[in-house]
């Protein structure tokens, strides 16, 4: 039991309390459910990788978005997680490329800038001709801190940097914003 809790608490954003709750929940499931979970974890690990370009989850790298020629190559949207890419894609408003950071700055969770895919971002910025960088981190404290940080290090490159409009529910996650709200926030993005 304590080993399961320990393993779960290594996951990002999972504190000891949540880990304990998850462990109890998992143990309360029937055997076959647990098998399915364990198998899908392994299968995912074996089949799914991160796109070498943008960091999005994919079965083959580069991912579908990065390899499709009809995407606007001059726009780059920076998000925290793969699930944010999925949320953005649902809005059908955005046609450019993505960069997935793999999280947000959060000292409490032991996540600093060096733990995010920021070096990869700088490499991409240097070797591509983006005209606009859209920072679409979550509208919460950690997302804001990450946006401020990115702004500081991208600023010297003299690119146009924008941030999603403030209409998003404060303290929330992009993932939970409905498509219309997220689409509007996207269209109303402002330069920073």
């Amino acid at each position: 039991m304590s080993r399961l809790i320990h393993e779960l608490s290594k996951l990002p954003g999972i504190g000891p309390k949540t880990a304990q709750r998850l462990a109890f929940y998992i143990l309360g499931q029937p055997q076959e459910e647990i098998s399915k979970l364990a198998e899908s974890l392994l299968e995912a690990k074996l089949k799914i990788t991160f796109c070498s370009e943008c960091g999005h989850l994919t079965e083959s790298s580069p991912c579908g978005i990065c390899s499709r020629r009809n995407r606007d190559q001059s726009l780059l949207c920076i998000v925290e997680e793969s699930k944010d890419v999925i949320a953005m894609e649902k809005t059908k408003v955005y046609k450019g490329l993505y960069h997935v950071l793999g999280g947000a700055i959060s000292p409490l969770d032991g996540v600093g800038p060096e733990d995010l895919r920021i070096k990869e971002l700088l490499v991409r910025l240097a070797s591509n001709t983006f005209t606009e960088i859209i920072i679409a981190t979550n509208p919460n404290i950690e997302g804001e801190a990450t946006a401020l940080y990115l702004n500081k290090i991208i600023k010297p490159l003299e690119l146009k940097i924008t941030r999603l409009a403030r209409g998003l529910p404060v303290g929330g996650d992009l993932e939970y914003a409905d498509e219309v709200t997220l689409g509007k926030a996207f269209e109303g993005r402002t330069e920073i």
Binding site: K17, I105, G112, E142, E144, A145, K152
Partner: protein, 371 residues
């Protein structure tokens, strides 16, 4: 607006209790250590989402149990019908009209004002007493403040953790500095506005109680004793920025945030400028404490267009003399009140109490007899 019934399971010394209340005066009497204050604590908890006696919520769980449960039913135009709270060792659950919600969502649904023997600490104690006072009542009056405050405390926690890291990434620190200034200034601005708009009520109450012309002054004190009263949010930001530069080295050395609203104070003085905390007589300090609370009640009434629930824990002796008694008599007329006392006879001298719909409850070892 009033609380019609309360249900407790394994809460402090109450194993299983259901109790119905009068919309006017409710009196809990009984010997010491029987559970009178525990009942007020439970009522306050339904309103505030946390205990007013302890910072560790799980202390209210009955010894030997792992969880406890509270439920209140309310009647009122702006009030939810039910509020429920479940507390475990590791987590808490809140429900509003049977819907699962966050603590912040129940805070302030049903405003309460608490009078307790510890109130004198508001005047005599350290700054944290006064900050907690501001924050508690501000959150009840200004729904937005809960988020402003929550965001700030999140930034503060993050920044403190960063400062504890072996090597602090200075660019990252700058980012948290910006957030600290931005969110901190908001917290301070809310507090300033609250103080500014509540002072007239406090002063009015104070003059009613003491019949003196003398008024108290209230100043919001920030970093290095600067008086921030009347400042704009922009000016507060500038001050915080400057303060951050001043403490830069000591913060890195001591690994903790050394400025911000979590350290500020509310200074209460006589017109002469002398501080009430240091130079006030016992009587003056007690009058001021009472005036603070009374002022607050009227401020809440003004802002929300309804009176808060009144919880009076062992403070009836404070209302002995004529003026104070008149004040409380007026209130009890329009407010649902819960009073604790060690003796039923305590109320004999409050003739007015019998004029209202008063329920007496005798409390004995976590159970009650209806009197």
């Amino acid at each position: 607006m009033f609380l019609t019934s309360l249900e407790l399971n394994r809460f402090r010394n109450y194993n299983d209790l259901t109790i119905e209340f009068s919309p006017q005066v409710n009196i809990f009497f009984g010997q010491n250590a029987q559970g009178k204050t525990n009942l007020l604590e439970a009522i306050a908890m339904l309103s505030l989402g946390k205990s007013f006696r302890t910072k560790k919520d799980d202390e209210v769980i009955q010894w030997g149990s792992e969880t406890c449960f509270l439920k209140g039913m309310f009647v009122g135009e702006q009030t939810p019908e039910t509020i429920e709270i479940g507390i475990g060792r590791a987590e808490k659950r809140y429900r509003l009209n049977h819907q699962s919600v966050k603590r912040n969502d129940i805070l302030g649904q049903v405003p309460v004002v608490i009078f307790s023997p510890d109130d004198l600490q508001l005047i005599k104690g350290g700054p944290s007493n006064r900050r907690d006072f501001l924050d508690l009542y501000l959150a009840q009056i200004e729904p937005k403040y809960r988020f402003v405050y929550y965001n700030y405390s999140k930034v503060l926690q993050q920044r403190n953790r960063l400062l504890k890291e072996r090597e602090v990434n200075l660019t990252e620190l700058e980012v948290w500095n910006e957030q600290l200034v931005e969110k901190g200034a908001k917290v301070i601005k809310y507090r300033l506005l609250f103080i500014e708009t509540t002072i007239p009520y406090i002063i009015q109450a104070q003059q009613q109680i003491s019949n003196s012309r003398e008024t108290l002054t209230f100043e919001y004190i920030g970093f290095r004793n600067q008086v921030l009263t009347n400042m704009s949010e922009e000016d507060i930001k500038k001050l915080l920025q400057e303060a951050l530069i001043t403490v830069r080295h000591s913060e890195i050395e001591r690994r903790v945030t050394l400025i911000g609203p979590q350290l500020d104070d509310l200074r209460i003085s006589f017109e002469s400028g002398l501080e009430l905390r240091i130079f006030g007589s016992q009587g003056q300090q007690r009058t001021a404490t009472l005036a603070l609370k009374m002022g607050l009640i009227n401020k809440i009434k003004e802002t929300r267009d309804e009176y808060p629930i009144l919880l009076l824990d062992d403070v009836m002796s404070e209302f002995d003399d004529g003026r104070k008694r008149a004040l409380i008599e007026n209130l009890i007329n329009s407010v649902q009140t819960f009073i604790t006392s060690t003796s039923r006879n305590d109320f004999a001298r409050f003739a007015y109490i019998s004029d209202f719909r008063t329920c007496f409850y005798e409390i004995e070892r976590g159970a009650l007899k209806i009197g």
